[in-house]
Amino acid sequence: MTTHPEKLVCITGAGQSEVARPSNKSGLALTIDACLNAINSAGLTPADIDGLSTYPGPVANGDGFSPVSATETMLALGLTPTWIGASTDGHAHMSAIFNAITAIASGLCRHVLVFRTVTQASARAEVSHAGIIGGGRSIAQRSWGGQSWTLPYNALSAAVLYGLYGQSYFRKYGATSQQLGAIAVHSRKMAALNPNAIYRKPITIDDYMASRMISTPLRLYDCDTHIDGSTAILFSRADLAGDLASPPIHIEAMGMGLGGIGAGLHTGDFTSMPAKIAGDMLWSRTDLKPKNLDFAQIYDGFSILTLMWMEALSLCGEGEAAAFVEGGRRIALDGELPMNTSGGQLSAGRFHGYGHTYEACLQLWGRAGERQVRDAKLGVVSNGGFGYGALLLRR
């Protein structure tokens, strides 16, 4: 029995719907678009798909966070899968991908489609408070679980929670807004080259410094943007992946971590996340090293998470990420480590982790158009600020 199930699995297809604020399409229609695009890119048909996995599964309160279930997607696509699953607990965004990998590696499925759909822009257009934590069609009367420790204190957005990380990181390492802002400026520059990004007009560091403060030290441009959109990634058994329409993308390694603010508990001094557990696990499962990377798609729900993820993945040393991104040269398309080449969530839109994996696939297939990293062979993807997941993907 293998201890590295990811090495038995490849990515064979990837698709995305349109992105809009808001879309005229329903969440399910966007999901179908993304899923069919993914299936088509592999040269398969829906009849070939025998597994379906999503994060986090349906949330029916009207907040648009996850409006579509795996079951209704199964019905709409006419699938007869052996297994479907959704995961709300654990490693957040990437848990659905880890579940797909293990379903295939264990012999349960041959081709598992993983999707993530958001209609947060529609939800906010309909109800102004839909975007807050505890929002939706009506504001929650009471809070339960992990959120109940922070919501009563008006931490109504993750921006408030992650402000703690930002303030602590700035204090400990002497990081500056000019440095953090480089991530937002870089994201817009990349989004300008991505036809499916939501914000494509470049900004300068002066624009960033002039943008309004949300929760110190996080400004407007440090926060990702609500969209309507869906992404689907197709995972296949490695021995079935060679003859398909797109070259197989190998999963060289995966990493998972848990804990932190999302678990309701916190240890340490708020300058790092338990994402380090995921980063260390990832590099322990391969002989490749960070220096071998051709690009990195690093989670940027909030820019401070990007800095902490860079350190968690050993792309730089502890406390060094802010200097690494300053000025944007080292993370540019022609820099030493091209980063968030789609524009990330800050500028391409909050596909909620899945946009990062999708972009990694386009880069490894050489289909990233004007933003193509030359001869991209190896890339890392990271997801999450509450639970943590990472993939090392190889052409």
Binding site: S143, W144, Y153, N154, A155, S157, L164, G166, I214
Partner: protein, 136 residues
Amino acid sequence: MSGASEPSRILPGLDRLNRDFWTGGADGRLLIARCDCGRYIHPPLPRCPACGGSTITPTPVSGRGRVAAYSVNHQAWLPGLKVPFVFAAVEIDEQSELYVFTNIVGCDPEQVAYRMPVKVAFEAHEDVYLPMFEPA
């Protein structure tokens, strides 16, 4: 939407595990779950992650601590929400890394600083006594 009344806080739902923490303020006490082994556990759990013990008792603490991390929130997430306000993690004096999330009140938000000494001040809402913290 200026002039909107301040939105109600989304209060915690009370259950067996958290009730003492959220209601101890009725008697002016900050009650933190504590294992027989001496370990404080917050948020409360029915089993001690340090020793495995299951005799966990809500225990009054000094209510004093220091600001371990904070953010000054400027965004009015709901109409009428008073800003700026300070969201913080306070490290309770009794144990290292015993963090309580809270708002820092009773001072200008700009005066809040790392390691600033604070003390609990309860704010009653319905059946809940929210532990807030103010400069000590």
